[in-house]
Assembly symmetry: C2
Homo-oligomer: 511 residues x 2
């Protein structure tokens, strides 16, 4: 008989915590999905105001447990309490952003083409379109964001906002945090008189339930944040379904930063970079893992400064054993068989999964001839590549795989002169940053946290910000429908007072 | 040595036409894609006005060859000249719709979140997002629409409008038409001084080049209209790429029509249905292949009337041998081993690929117990299913696969009483039609020609209408960018005078 409960883990002490969470079975999964399907019949018809209240209630319930959530997540991740507090703030802010979006209502992209009964050679009938929910969504929480990209994170918030029940596969690196968030959501469901199946969660000790979740005919879309190997495996299963569904996988990136001469010459650049590289023990999908510069007289001094900062950098504790072991394996092999040297190794973090940061250095030529160097090393690691000239830098950028971000640091004149590199960056990444570091993803209307494969599996989407709601909706149009059949969003009077396109022109006016 | 040219075919005479088209090689394909990649570097930077002029020039050039195009397409498809004329009108109308969209410019969905330097605990930097082209697009033309869904059809028009070069795999059932359209586009490219590689086309006698096209790393998205088997095979190849890309396949549908009592009692219903079923010899992805009704006293009279109309229906000539043989095979097997009866068989069309229309009848019980009955029979065929009660009808609708359309015919009171069926229809289809037939897809802003798998491979998209442009674009955001680096669409002054979201609110005002 297999084990029926699982404990979460403290990466500092290296020991299991004194808790126990039920491991679910395939039958449990089946019943959660069935419950989500029933809940969908009610939840898809809730108004924007009702969904807003629900999302805000989840936020309130999370805040009411803030002390316990912060204490638990800190223990389970080894991350400092201030970081967890900040991330909780971001999580509730995200829920409230989506609440404001569903309350305002224009996100459904209503569009009305009026009938043209006298058009020649054929009349045109009345056609009206808007976005509806896509159906129950399966969501996989991330190890590195126990709150903002997990149980009540961006995927859950945007899927619920769009009108879909969700079934979350818990991330085992923070089961206690997950459990507290599940309870907060359950209270919000009860307070808002919604069907229980609007939110379901499962815990597994392996991969079986996650695989079954994405293959289940009742699941209509999937949101995933995690590793390339995990994301690709689930993407492949979804693609092989009898009825493939949208799979939104955000799988990481090495987030190149291009440093122009002025940035190389600026004494504060090294510190800014190192701080970004070691933030959260480097466990960000936006961690800058690649620094690009062109060789010049000033490079040697910059390397020295970077080495000093790198050596002074404090290490930390990795989130869980798997990430810790991968990082140890990657950094132990550093410089073996490939032309690169260690610029600086920081102090080792204290604790069972303690690690130190590494900054490496290589040439553009070596980078171009060894594809291994462009692979993500998840953790406080970055590789400085010194290109012999601008042409080599451009070639290197053209060879990059899809990225979440590409950054440029330089004066306005340097940026203007590099318009071809900025053009390449737009082809390769979802976010192009000027004179800043990629860590820190603002939750706002204009954010794009996405990019071409392998950064994500859907280059035309974002997993952070207002537009994330679009992932879990689909358009439907009504042809020649009586007013009494039309949803409020598409009725002549515009009772929701939302922006709609009328014969192609955006307006809030009634018809 | 393999054959180096191919002739097109006249489905009426059953003979090859007196022409010859070069069969391309893998090397040709490679060079077309390389040419598209180079062209992309220029074409992606064209203004909305330049793209509008280009699309309008293509439309003008097609119209200037109208006589020859109509004569050729009529010969190659066996469709009447009036239909081809209408379809050409639709094709140029579609190009001009996308021209109006790129000229107006708001389709890029500009969004600006202004900096909040004093925000606590952290300042917010300026973030601006808009849609950019996705990269060279591979397109597969459809057999059943030699113009509107082929070489210069909706996929090509929307991909070009979004700023992408295209490489079209010609549909072999209308190579002469394809060739004329290619020449019209080539003239437009020359007139507009665009790089030749903005449009490329390949002809193959088999599947090799189509497979290579969707697997090529230089192709960043695919548009496909055709059969389920072809679409699924290409979808699988795309999913298995090292870097999967968006695949927009529109693969057909049986387009159920639900007939309420008033429609059953209406003497004109049968004729309206039969006309829709035999239109274009039934070769529409929106052909109504399934008629659903609830048993009542009036059903017998309706069946009699439908049988009379069905028997009087004129047959026609199928587009090509493959479609002809599939239809013959499906209709020869009719009623064998399954509980269904032939209500009416029409007159056989004259010509090599001549066929007659068939209307079949069965019960809800038989339909539910035999999944074969819900498979599309491409051609002038429809199956009337008489359900014993509303519950059986609802069950049957819940069991349906994804559809392009579902229609309802009835009085407003009947429709209002059927709100649960209309809710099911929205889950299953991209377009819900009231008191009309599904054939006829309006090219407008609010159109949704899409739906859940297997109707399409991307339920959150449409292949017809203004929103089709979104398929071939992706969002990118700029963080903290100087004005001089920003595209016109995102500059403070709003020089393009487009709608943008500023801190979430739609406006045309400058910042």
């Amino acid at each position: 008989m297999s084990q029926s409960t699982i404990k979460s883990f403290d990466p500092v002490s290296g020991k299991h915590l004194d808790n126990a969470f039920q491991i679910n079975t395939l039958d449990d999964l089946e019943s959660k999905i069935e419950s989500a399907q029933w809940a969908y019949l009610v939840y898809r018809n809730t108004s924007g105001e009702e969904r807003a209240t629900f999302l805000e209630t989840i936020a309130d319930e999370i805040e009411s447990d803030l002390t316990e959530i912060v204490a638990t997540a800190t223990l389970e991740t080894g991350l400092p309490a201030a970081r967890i507090q900040g991330e909780t703030g971001r999580t509730v802010g995200q829920l409230r952003l989506f609440a404001s979006i569903t309350r305002e209502g224009s996100w459904v992209e209503g569009s009305i083409d009026t009938a043209l009964p006298n058009r020649q050679p054929l009349p045109r009938v009345d056609i009206r379109k808007y976005l509806i929910p896509i159906g129950p969504v399966g969501i996989f929480g991330a190890a590195n964001f126990p709150l903002a990209f997990s149980t009540a994170g961006g995927d859950t918030a945007s899927a619920l906002a769009a009108g879909n029940p969700v079934v979350v596969k818990a991330n085992n690196s923070h089961l206690g945090t997950h459990d507290l968030i599940c309870k907060a959501i359950a209270r919000a469901i009860e307070n808002c008189n919604l069907p229980e199946g609007v939110f379901g969660a499962i815990v597994d000790s392996g991969f079986e339930l996650g695989r079954a979740l994405v293959q289940h005919p009742g699941i209509k879309a999937v949101g995933f944040t995690g590793s390339y190997s995990g994301g690709r495996a689930l993407f492949d299963l979804v693609s092989q379904r009898k009825d493939p569904i949208p799979f939104y996988g955000e799988m990481g990136s090495i987030n190149p930063i291009v440093l122009f001469d002025s940035a190389i010459a600026n004494a504060s650049t090294s510190k800014q970079l190192i701080n970004a590289i070691i933030l959260g023990v480097g466990q960000f999908c936006t961690n800058p893992g690649l620094l690009l510069a062109i060789d010049s007289e000033a490079i040697a001094a910059f390397c020295n400064q970077l080495a000093i900062e790198a050596t002074a950098a404090l290490g930390g504790v990795m989130l869980h054993q798997g990430i810790y072991e991968s990082y140890q394996k990657a950094t132990t092999a550093l410089g073996k068989g490939v032309e690169m040297s260690v610029l600086g190794e920081g102090t080792k973090g204290e604790g069972a999964f303690g690690v130190s940061s590494y900054i490496l250095k290589t040439t553009g030529e070596a980078f171009l001839s060894n594809s291994q160097l462009s692979q993500e090393v998840f953790g406080p690691y970055s590789l400085l590549v010194i290109c012999k000239d601008e042409e080599e830098l451009a070639t290197l950028m053209m060879e990059l795989e899809g990225q979440l971000t590409i950054s440029f640091m330089g004066t306005e004149a340097e940026l203007e002169a590099a318009d071809h590199l900025i053009a390449i960056a737009q082809e390769k990444a979802g976010r192009v940053i000027f004179n800043g570091v990629p860590t820190g993803v603002e939750v706002c209307h204009a954010m794009v946290h996405g990019g071409p494969f392998p950064a994500t599996t859907q280059p035309n989407s974002t997993s952070v910000g207002a537009e994330a709601i679009k992932r879990f909706s689909r358009p439907v149009c009504f042809q020649n429908a009586p007013q009494s059949i039309l949803p409020l969003a598409l009725q002549d009077e515009n009772p929701l007072n939302i922006f709609r396109k009328i014969n192609g022109t955006l307006t809030k006016q009634r018809l």
